[in-house]
């Protein structure tokens, strides 16, 4: 049981960064951004390729961040400058990224084998016995840094502008803000975080796979919604902490379900989709009294 718990916590923490990225697009910008599926793999692809080419893991993760923000920028430009609906812009990026990811990796799967990663570094540094312990350690650090950064960022003038854009972009232009810039910036930030998550997960898994991102958006959404159910009265900080907890709970559910032998690992995607569908419905019913922006 304890191994299930540590496994869920460690994976939950690393995947939480993905969910936070999804929260930024889905809840803050009010865009269902499918780029995530591609940028999550992109982060893994860039990170793994860098690591097997003996680039220090920290730098490899940084490169993944940058690559993710570029992916977000492409979607943002497609949406704002070419005026393609956001959902379709994300699908285009995601589809294009599949080929780009294969190009970067050169093959469908890159094992990290004996190469040193951030996880092995931490394990050695602190004399931790297991990869999972190192992952929990790393996950907590990264989540804390990301949450502190976002709380600061969304309290700046520019951060306010992004939040307001998702809320009412007509109002934002009337107040002299270029909503194209705020949308692009929001998408860049979200996808940078999603790629970061992809890079961390690939180090945890010990390989990068071109299929790694499939279902990422639904997994992220599941965490976001579980988080929202936990914290009903939420501000930015509680939302973000809720998402991290939501991500861990999601992993626990997955672990318990798989261990129960009723659901095979192959059915997990379907299972997740059903969880999210039910959770979205419940959330909608619950929050009906509160005014919410319409989702497309």
């Amino acid at each position: 049981m304890s191994s299930i718990l540590t496994s869920a916590v460690s994976q939950g923490l690393l995947w939480a960064i993905l969910a936070i990225g999804i929260h930024i697009t889905y809840r803050i910008l009010d865009i269902s951004d499918l780029t995530s599926e591609g940028s999550f793999t992109l982060g893994a692809a860039v990170c793994a390729t860098a690591i097997v080419n003996n680039i220090p893991p920290i730098l490899a993760i940084f490169m993944a961040l940058i690559s993710g923000s570029l992916a977000g920028m492409i979607t943002g430009l497609l949406h704002t400058k070419l005026q393609i609906p956001s959902l379709l812009a994300g699908i285009l990026s995601m589809t294009g990224l599949y080929s780009i990811n294969l190009r970067i990796m050169g093959k469908a799967n890159i094992p990290l084998n004996m190469h040193s990663t951030l996880l092995t570094n931490i394990k050695e540094l602190f004399n931790l016995g297991k990869d999972r312990d190192a992952a929990i350690f790393l996950g907590i650090i990264v989540c804390v840094i990301v949450i502190i950064f976002l709380v600061w960022f969304f309290n700046t003038e520019f951060g306010y502008a992004i939040v307001a854009t998702g809320n009412n972009d007509k109002m934002i232009r009337a107040n002299g803000i270029n909503s194209d810039i705020t949308k692009i910036a929001g998408l860049m930030l979200a996808n940078a975080l999603i790629a970061l998550s992809g890079a961390l997960v690939c180090q945890y898994n010990g390989y990068a796979d071109v299929q790694q991102g499939i279902g990422a958006i639904v997994i992220g959404l599941a965490s976001v919604i579980i988080g929202e159910v936990i914290f009903r009265n939420r501000n930015l900080i509680t939302s973000l902490i809720g998402i991290v907890i939501g991500s861990i709970i999601y992993r626990l559910i997955v672990a318990i379900v798989i261990n129960s032998n009723y659901v095979s690992a192959n059915d997990m995607k379907l299972f997740t989709a059903i969880i999210v569908a039910v959770a979205l419905y419940v959330a909608n019913v619950d929050f009906k009294k509160k005014r919410r922006p319409k989702k497309c």
Binding site: T156, Y160, A164, N167, M171, G176, N178
Partner: protein, 264 residues
């Protein structure tokens, strides 16, 4: 000073649904003018305001503010000198942000958004004092989400936001039409208070002829995308609703005036 020269806008050009919303319209608005705009449905009142604010691009013509040509400028750039309040109370504010956060966004109209704090403690005090002076009952609700306010309160807040940085031009697009009569009067009173205090150059669309006569120093009537009546000063203050109705009937060739225009 706002100068509009030969402005034209056609919707759905070269189709069966072609609609010439604004036709070769020219007007000069002087500093400090408070103009009320009336006209029937489809007269082009809102389109005119949307062309001035840059929400819509114009087909032809030229718009200058203080000799700066803004015809080709993007909406968000023009916002630096134009304040706006919309008909829909939901449009002018962000529902999920608090009153003070909304005000802070408006406070920076026309400025670059930096990575400095979006809402400083000093601003909070400033907004509290401001709201206290206006007696809207909002001074104790600075951190409440705007979504919890009533339509009238949201319009009052939008009005405040649009004038927080003194605009060269204030555009009011039937900003009281969606409110109940009592609230509408309150918001209109607040409007005159703010406009007079800051001597704002204002264009206010209204469907209410009484209001059109009561407020402002100049009145224009629009029809088919043209200005068919432009009176100001003494001439305007002597005008009665009956005079206006006669003029309107003459201009439209006896078209029935809709009820909303007569309502007090």
């Amino acid at each position: 000073m706002l100068k509009i020269e030969n402005l034209s806008k056609t919707f759905n050009a070269n189709t069966v649904n072609e609609k010439k919303a604004i036709q070769n319209l020219s007007i000069t608005i002087n500093d400090g003018d408070f103009i009320t705009v009336i006209g029937g449905n489809g007269a082009g009142k809102s389109t005119l305001l949307n062309l001035i604010s840059g929400t819509l691009p114009c087909d032809e013509g030229k718009i200058t503010i203080d000799d700066i040509d803004i015809t080709k400028q993007k909406e968000y750039k023009r916002a630096a000198f134009i304040g706006r309040v919309f008909q829909d109370p939901m449009t002018g504010t962000c529902a999920d942000l608090s009153i003070e956060e909304n005000l802070s966004l408006a406070k920076r109209r026309g400025k670059k958004r930096t990575l400095r704090l979006g809402l400083t403690p000093q601003e909070k005090k400033e907004y509290k004092t401001l709201l206290e002076s206006l007696n809207l009952g909002l001074e104790h609700r600075l951190s409440s989400k705007v979504g919890l306010l009533s339509g009238g309160q949201r319009q009052a807040l939008t009005l405040l936001m649009s004038t927080l940085v003194k605009p060269k031009l204030l555009l009011l697009d039937e900003h009281t039409a969606a409110l109940d009569p009592k609230t509408a009067t309150k918001v209109l009173e607040l409007t005159t208070k703010i406009v007079e205090k800051d001597k704002l150059t204002t264009l206010m669309i209204t469907h209410n002829m009484k209001d059109a006569l009561k407020y402002g120093n100049r009145l224009i009537m629009m029809m088919d995308g043209k200005i068919i009546l432009d009176i100001s000063g003494d001439e305007k203050s002597k005008l009665t609703v009956n005079d206006l109705l006669k003029m309107f009937e003459q201009a439209t060739g006896g078209e029935v005036v809709n009820d909303r225009m007569l309502l007090a």
